[in-house]
């Protein structure tokens, strides 16, 4: 028996407990320090109310003594297949997470409890929606006490959402630099002057930044905020978040699919070939679609009960896929903003708190890499060998499309290049990928010069 479960590197802040891994499953330990609030969560009916709405992750309590004698309780929460971070979410995903946090705070208040922190890292994408995962974030509400996590909410949710709303551009990567929240002073300075005309933005950002700066270090423990005022505060935040949107400035791809579909049934042909191959592969559980765009090829995979990560560098495309998923209630696909050439790094304490994207997707069953290779190799000068090595780390099976230099789209990429990319040939491509993969199928997409490959990672 392990007397001292080792917390995961991201779980060091809360004295009430931590999460740890045991036999590839995630558990949560409740320490003695967290006993009172955890019991209260269950006794007040808040846990039931939140889990019924699917706002909070459900868990089962493990028998006493399981893995630890010192812990008050060991919980086994419903397992999340893939952990993602706010800097990989589209605008509407972050907005959904913000609204969820506020609704949970309001429901908690109604049950005599309150959230003691408000960070998007407490939220994950699960079964087609955002869900709150930190069971130990709840504490007893004491009448008149202000919301301890108010500033954290403003910095972690409001700041990025407002900057994107007013800037009309996705700033998801800003959250890598400011993982603990974008400082209010910075947001206040970056927002246009007209943002002060919105009373809610003025209060929660501009006034908040000013008052906080002036009163730095003063003792405010005696200050009281009556409950009805706190409810008004939450209502005001909710109204503000609700009103925010990221104007659709058109995807980088514009009407790519409308145009591509006209090319001799190119998309239909491609889909048919892929469907036949996927059917032949033994029990696929997970897949990652690099360059998923709006999910044209991820959605059919998800429909085959494969848990699919749809990754694209274009925030607008990811936002659109998020909308599709919400509308059709698809449970097993996760849309993420990922630039293949610039995937999320490992960040935080000792660089271990939040794993890099590539380490989280290693050993996925199937990788899709469709109409992407020319963007990587011609567009970004990445050698075939590097792309092959990255994909070999990520997936066991690979379906990849080779787009020759003579293809219309490659020609467009070559238009403003001095280099003539002599190495960009099908033979070089096959050689480079042959170092890591064995090709089992190869098929020309009828009516085009493009070739689809089905490969299997070779045993090294």
């Amino acid at each position: 028996m392990n007397e001292c479960n080792r917390p995961l590197p991201s779980s060091y802040r809360d004295p009430a407990g931590f999460i740890f891994q045991y036999e590839n499953e995630v558990y949560r330990q409740v320490n003695e320090a967290g006993r009172k609030d955890y019991d209260l969560l269950l006794q007040t009916g808040l846990y039931d109310s939140l889990t019924k709405k699917k706002w909070l992750i459900s868990h089962e309590e493990m028998p006493a003594g399981f893995l630890s004698k010192n812990a008050y309780k060991i919980l086994k929460p419903a397992q999340i297949p893939f952990i993602s971070f706010p800097y990989e979410w589209s605008f509407s995903m972050l907005k959904e997470a913000a609204l969820l946090t506020l609704r949970i705070a309001k429901t908690s208040l109604a049950h005599g409890m309150m959230l003691k922190d408000a960070t998007p890292f407490n939220i994950q994408w699960h079964k087609g929606a955002m869900i709150f995962i930190d069971t130990l974030s709840f504490e007893e509400y004491k009448d008149g006490s202000p919301w301890i996590a108010y500033r954290q909410f403003c910095e972690c949710f409001l700041s990025p959402l407002l900057l994107m709303h007013y800037g009309r551009i996705s700033l998801h990567t800003m959250q890598v630099a400011y993982a603990e929240g974008i400082p209010l002073q910075l947001t206040s300075r970056f927002l246009p002057w007209r943002s002060r005309l919105s009373i809610h933005t003025y209060l929660h950002i501009h006034l908040h930044a000013k008052v906080a700066r002036k009163n730095k270090g003063t003792d405010q423990k005696e200050l009281l905020v009556p409950k009805n005022k706190l409810i008004n505060l939450l209502g005001s935040l909710e109204m503000l978040v609700h009103s925010l949107s990221l104007k659709d400035t058109g995807t980088v791809w514009g009407d790519y699919y409308a145009e591509a579909a006209n090319r001799n049934d190119y998309l239909t042909q491609k889909k048919t070939i892929i469907a036949t191959w996927v059917e032949k592969l033994p029990a696929l559980k997970t897949a990652i679609d690099f360059g998923s765009n709006e999910g044209e090829f991820s959605l059919p995979l998800a429909a085959c009960s494969i848990y699919t990560i749809a990754a694209d560098a274009d925030p607008v495309a990811v936002n659109k896929l998020h909308k599709t998923i919400r509308e059709s209630n698809i449970q097993n696909i996760i849309p993420l903003i990922i630039d293949f050439t610039y995937p999320s790094p490992a960040i935080g304490l000792a660089n271990k708190e939040r794993d890099s994207f590539l380490s989280r997707i290693s050993n996925t069953d199937l990788g899709l890499c469709l109409a992407l290779i020319h963007h990587l190799c011609i567009g970004k000068n990445i050698p075939f060998a590097s792309v092959a090595a990255i994909l070999a780390e990520s997936c066991k099976h690979l379906i990849i499309e080779f787009v020759p230099a003579t293809d219309e789209k490659s020609k467009q990429l070559l238009l403003n290049k001095k280099d003539i990319y002599q190495w960009y040939t099908q033979l070089e491509f096959e050689n480079a990928f042959g170092q890591h993969f064995d090709t089992s199928e190869k098929q020309l997409i009828p009516g085009t010069e493009r070739v689809l490959y089905l490969m299997r990672r070779s045993h090294r």
Binding site: R13, D14, P15, A16, A33, K116, D117, P146, W147, I148, A149, Y150, R151, Q152, I199, L203, H204, L207, H208, V211, A212, R213, K214, N215, K216, G217, T218, Q220, K221, L223, L224, V225, P226, K229, L230, N232, L233, S236
Partner: protein, 50 residues
């Protein structure tokens, strides 16, 4: 207060008191406005009931 493990941020309590008061005033006038409007307008729900 030893269990408060996140820094609530100096000034963020005071601002909640201020914002609470301002929102209170805003709500007060909003309610008056809604009340006056309701005198002139029948709510669609009431019409359905009739």
């Amino acid at each position: 207060m030893s269990l408060l493990y996140i820094d609530p941020g100096s000034g963020s309590y005071l601002v909640q008191v201020i914002i609470g008061a301002i929102l209170g005033i805003v709500m007060f006038f909003k309610n008056i406005k809604l009340f006056i409007l309701s005198l002139f307008r029948r709510s669609p729900k009431k019409q359905q009931d009739e």
